[in-house]
Amino acid sequence: MRRPYKWLVPLFALALVAAACGDDDDTTPTATTAAPATTAAPAQTTAAPTTAAPVTTEAPAGVTLIIGTTDSISGLDGADAYAVHDWELLKNIGEGLLRWEPGSGDKLVTGAAAGFGEFSADGLSYTIALKPGLVFGDGTPLTAQSYADQINDRLLVLEGPGGVGPALGQPYVESVEALDDVTIKFNLTETWGFFEQLLAGAPYIPTNPTQFTAAELNNFPDAPIYGNGPWYIESYVVDEQTVLKPNPTYQGDSPAQVEQVIVRYFGSPQSMAEAVQTGEIDVAWRILGPDLISQLTGVSGLNVERINAGPIRYFIVNHSLPPTDDPNVRKAIAYAIDRDEISDRVFQGAVDPLFSPIPPGFLGANDVYDDVYAAPDVGAATAALAASGYTPDAPLDLTLAYPPEHYGGTVADTMQVMKEQLEATGAVNVDLVAQEWSTYIGAVIGGADYPVSFLGWFYDYPDPDNYLNPFIVNGGLGTMVTDPDTGEGIDATSQELVDKLIQAASTSDPSTREALYGEIQALHAELVVTLPLWVEAEHVVYRDGVSGDDAFGSLVTLNIGPTIEFNYNTLSAS
């Protein structure tokens, strides 16, 4: 019998063997592979003629850096994107009027703006000028009018699932005007002292009107995607990879240092950790757990560095429910919790204790809780409890609630450690209550169920206000230091806290704000509004030969500072 296709069998086997023996895996640390010719040619757009000759930037040929992450793309429209990685990409392909200096948590510098703007005398408007002659990567001009249209017609109007407009646009900006080709005036809803910090955020980055129109949100636009930043997205496949190339018309002062950056998306941290070990990727960035960090530390050729900022973990302490409506109980908890022990026993030292609601690196951050309570101080905790009549014979029954699955597998362990610490006072019986996330978060915010509950937070805009305001105003996400309906403090100290918070939010002078945040933190610690526990430090792992730019801070973490912004343009390879 004829078997016409039997030759396919050895052919397939041969192909498998050839593939297995192939040397296409690049194990050199800095992946100096020549970038292959890509099939995605830059799109011909219908852009208006450019108003200025674009400045062409050149990056070293043949150098590709591959960054791994367990994040994924959720949307790339600045008027809707609200995830950490989306913002990271938007900040690399676009440049805001103002931006954070790489590696810094409190130093704003100009980006697309010619200089810093000015608040009006009443603080209700902010005027700033663009650099003249700016264009997007495809040649579309960036003018004051196009920017004003972007904010007015998109950020303040379009409402997508991300909810960016209602969260970071409408509460702060009433409208935007173009006073001439380059001058932009923001009409603010109130006097917002941190408006410049807000302006440095991803929602306010100029977006290309040829791709992001006033008609609708465009979260997954066709590539290439051009902005006014140092990179453009040449191609992307969700959950697979994003390819970034230097923007040919970038006119800023920090152009790309390599020819190509590829972001690869991983399904598991373990898989990403292996890839950085084998050299399949050059940088592993977000999110590796404490076990993997410990496993990678000390591996030859790898650099494991910690950034002590980012997501924080804390207790919401309910001021309207017994027994935490009693200041002595709140203080006893603050005295009893040993953050170092949690870090050592549960995280193998991979997290840093947090002694303020404002994480380190941000304006005004201090260690107020350490200064006031110097925890662990079991004696002081016992004394505080005794002052309210709680003794070993008549112990306090305290419920600690937590969502067991929402913040990773370590939460249950940390809660157990904290239960032991509280019970070490001899005057507390702790009842740990694990609750499914959606039921849990509703109960916490409602403020009627749990006296103490565990939560995490990551900023919307990197400013102290965003680490304080949500936990104080309008019921404070369950702290109940203010009335959820009237917004007034529940007592004189709470009201003083609210007043100072409003004052700090409406002041733009950094030194005045810093002083106010010092006072706010002191009041915060006195009341124990929340109990800061630890900073869920981020880690970046990179291979030898990859480096940041020594012109900026946080060089050892590839210029990733407290804002957790990763500027790919500062990366180079040797």
């Binding site: 296409d24 995605a40 209602p166 399904g267």
Partner: protein, 365 residues
């Protein structure tokens, strides 16, 4: 063309041709069997879809609060709840859901910019197929070859060895085997990549017509990409294929042993036909019939294994999508994904039953 439509076209056209053949040329009993089987598939899918609907509504917690967390304002939550129809009475939600399932509208995801779930799955299905097709072929190949080998050498060392292998490999958790392979072949020996579908620098060079990278690289003559894709397929395919091979091996072995004791085999031996021809041309062919049935049953296990394999190897298929959406508490995406998985399993089972009826004329309904 939508990738999902393309895939259904690839599967649907041969299926339609086969059905046409059955209804034109097939016997009356075969036609009746196939028709009954098709009709039975519809309630099966509906029951599965209903179960998914009910289970997701019985589990505690509000999906909207769960997805938006503490930062979602009451207005945004209410709008999302209205958009999802969660404010409607349960029976209206159910009716609407079933209507949508019948038209293959699985709704929009709550995350990922609320894209249609069908689009999300359609983009990822080719990657899943690119994993499960070779894995199935590998499992079947190992099962048939070594199952027959073990049957022929019954009660010899190799037979014991293969029996031990089949039990051990089936008992192994797929994610554990995947991690082991990653560490052994990827990290320690450096022979294979540890994850992904293609080398990062080549990913953008493939013109994605079908989004099955192996097919696309061949279609466009991109041999460097072809080699890279093949290289990346080795570990995930091995992991999934080996796990499934144990069952096929045991079933093949026992069926070949039984068939070799049949009278017609003894008659063939008496006629002086060579043992190898008897084993592979006569005994194995008949022994394969129950194995084909098993393929249909294994599809569900295969997809379950693919979920873990895709996560371990960062393979951007439907399984990883489902895991990601569960993590993101994306209620509608999870619901849509499970319905799609159920649909997939039901259709493959149907196809296998029809093939079985064609191969085994004794099947009657």
């Amino acid at each position: 063309m939508h990738p999902l439509a393309l895939i259904f076209l690839i599967i649907g056209v041969p299926a339609a041709l086969a059905l046409a053949y059955i209804f034109i040329r097939g016997s009356h009993s075969l036609r009746r069997y196939v028709l009954t089987r098709i009709v039975l598939t519809i309630p099966m899918v509906l029951i599965l879809a209903s179960l998914v609907f009910l289970v997701l509504r019985v589990i505690p917690g509000d999906p909207v609060t769960s997805a938006l967390g503490p930062k979602g304002s009451p207005e945004v939550k209410e709008r999302l709840r209205t958009n999802l129809g969660l404010n409607e009475p349960l029976f209206i939600q159910y009716g609407s859901f079933l209507g949508d399932v019948l038209t293959l509208d699985l709704g929009n995801a709550m995350t990922l910019a609320q894209r249609p779930v069908v689009d999300e799955l359609g983009e990822r299905l080719p990657a899943t197929l690119e994993l499960i097709i070779p894995a199935s072929a590998l499992a079947l190949g190992i099962g048939l070859i070594f199952g027959t080998w073990a049957a022929v050498r019954r009660k010899k060392t190799s037979d014991y060895g293969f029996r031990l292998y089949s039990v051990a490999i089936y008992a192994m958790p797929v994610f554990w085997l995947g991690l082991l392979f990653q560490l052994l072949f990827g990290v320690w020996l450096g022979w294979t990549p540890t994850g992904g579908r293609i080398e990062a620098t080549l990913g953008a060079t493939v013109d994605r017509t079908t989004n099955m990278l192996l097919v696309d690289s061949v279609l466009h003559g991109n041999w460097e990409a072809f080699r890279s894709v093949l290289h990346h397929m080795i570990l995930p395919t091995l992991t999934l294929g080996l796990i499934l091979s144990g069952v096929f091996l045991r079933l093949t072995r026992i069926n070949v042993i039984e068939t070799l004791q049949e009278d017609y085999v003894a008659a063939a031996r008496a006629r002086g036909i060579r043992e190898r021809v008897i084993t592979y041309s006569h005994a194995l062919k008949n022994a394969m019939i129950p194995v084909i049935t098993l393929i249909g049953l294994q599809v569900a296990i295969l997809l379950g294994g693919a979920i873990l394999t895709e996560t371990v190897f960062s393979w951007p298929g439907m399984g990883r999508y489902l895991v990601d959406r569960i993590t993101a508490r994306d209620f509608t995406a999870v619901q849509g994904s499970i319905v799609m998985f159920a649909l997939f399993v039901a259709l493959i089972s149907l196809a296998v039953d029809i093939i079985y009826s064609l191969l085994d004329p004794r099947v009657k309904y």
